[in-house]
Amino acid sequence: MEKVILKNLGKPDSHKLENYVASGGYKAIQSALKMRPDNIVQMVKDSGLRGRGGAGFSTGLKWSFIPKDPTIQKYLCCNADEGEPGTYKDRGIMDNDPHILLEGMMITSYAIGASVGYIYIRGEFVFGAKRLEAAIDEAYAKGYLGKNIFGSNFSLDIYIHRGYGAYICGEETALLESIEGLRAQPRKKPPFPALAGLYGKPTVINNVETLACIPAIIEKGPEWFSKMGPEKSPGPKIFCVSGHVKKPGLYELPMGTTVRDLIYNHCGGMLTDKPLKAVIPGGVSAPLLTARELDTALDFDSLAAKGSMLGSGAVVVMDESACMVKSAYIINRFFSHESCGKCTPCRDGTPWLTRVLKRIEHGEGRPGDIELLESLCTNIFGRTFCPLGDGAVMALRGHLKNFREEFQFHIDHKRCMAS
């Protein structure tokens, strides 16, 4: 398939404006500026593009909630706080092709009437932040940002806001709190950011990969986009593959590619001759799939039907050597480390899960520990302010559902059955 989002990856100096322009970049924004903003919103709706950050909400619909009143200040925030273990797609875009993101942000800002955009990039991505900063400077120097961009009546400023180590900032309202200089704890919804977002103003928050899809939708049309992949979950998708495969990396493929096709055709198969044991299909929150489920299509609805989710498109592959108790412990440790502390079930529940998982992993599990984990899951799931606690539970439930006997073996025999 012809690449759309990663088309410039691997080309020399792909991060430079002149090379982006030479590859056909910054044409879409110039076409967009000749269209009516509401027509662009409609195009994105018609394309069927769903948010690539994890939630999969219709991008065009999200944009359409922004009030039309031109006297109200509006903001666009790009969510580049990529932090779900297994995920590194947005980094790939920002490091290698920052201008595709800027062009996506320009079109989006014009469509929703935002005059200011912020890119919220996680603090550890120093290289990416520098690349973006240089790209923004290049764009200002050319008149692609600032007053009357491309000689139009539309003006736009884009700034970088650097995070400093908090996964929760990927939750959109926590991200807004963080830009406002506060502790990044999620806000109560409603009001939704489309009505009262950054500084209380209407705000759209979109993921990097989502925004990087926008120029191609303008250029090639919504129909082209909507015809790629499944009808209700169309378009190109970046899968970030890691773990026990021969060729881990970023793969841009049509939505709906199967797990088997991705691993065995694109990634060169398993790393060694050990057979596949489990696959996390969408970042660690996504319940894992087993070797029997490799024909599952990687798209929002197919994975939801399997009780999992596409999430960020981070595919973590594990062979028979992987201990599922250890995997559950490591993943859960992440969530308890990142719990923001706002609400009790997550703040107290996720570290409790971690303590129990740690003792099982270390051969100190007690009879009844599996039931204790299940009971804690029940008391966390659906009872938290934001999806972080749910993510911790979904990950653990996926492990328990498919590999309960490994947890029991650890408790009974004080050792691992996998290694």
Binding site: E82, G83, E84, P85, G86, T87, Y88, D90, R91, Y118, R122, G123, E124, F125, V126, F127, Y159, H161, R162, G163, Y164, G165, A166, S178, I179, E180, G181, L182, R183, A184, Y199, C240, V241, S242, G243, H244, P248, G249, L250, I280, V284, A314, V316, M318, A322, K326, S327, I330, I331, R333, F334, H337, E338, C340
Partner: protein
């Protein structure tokens, strides 16, 4: 006292936002950089004055984010080895143990000459090139023992 460079960076950060408080993260980052990797109360108090915030608000913001090292000086090179799922599958524990042996410190400690601090972190977004670590601003990927040795040797 904040360095002149840090103050200039804070001035620049203030131009990005409609309110002063929003510049707090950039300000803390600049102050931490100026001090060589950590923050002290005096820095946060000074930032509070510049940004017209209460000192406790600046401290609350700083304490929330793991990359601000409040009252915790780090070595000239802060080594952060990722230990989450993808890196763990590809041998992160081995890298961490090797690092502890080579530097003769435990995770969380700083060498006697204040050159290296060793930490572990939960995912740095470099999972396809696991195992990996970050030293100060730079990522080092596809690690094995030999590569770790070579990287450490290259650090003056």
């Amino acid at each position: 006292m904040l360095s002149e460079e840090a103050k200039k960076e804070i001035e620049k950060a203030l131009r990005k936002y409609p309110n002063k408080r929003s510049a707090v993260m950039d300000a803390l980052r600049s102050a931490q950089k100026a001090r060589g990797g950590h923050l002290e109360k005096a820095d946060m108090d000074e930032i509070a004055v510049i940004l017209e915030m209460q000192a406790v608000e600046v401290n609350a913001a700083a304490a929330f984010y793991t990359m601000y090292n409040i009252d915790k000086p780090v070595g000239k090179y802060h080594i952060q080895v990722c230990r989450n799922i993808s890196c763990s599958l590809m041998g992160a524990e081995h890298i961490i143990k090797h690092m502890e042996r080579t530097l003769n410190i435990k995770t969380g400690e700083t060498t006697g000459d204040k050159k290296f601090t060793l930490s572990t972190v939960e995912c740095l977004g470099s999972c396809g090139t696991a195992p990996m670590m970050q030293i100060n601003d730079d990522f080092h990927e596809n690690l094995d023992e030999a590569k770790v040795e070579e990287i450490l040797k290259g650090l003056e």
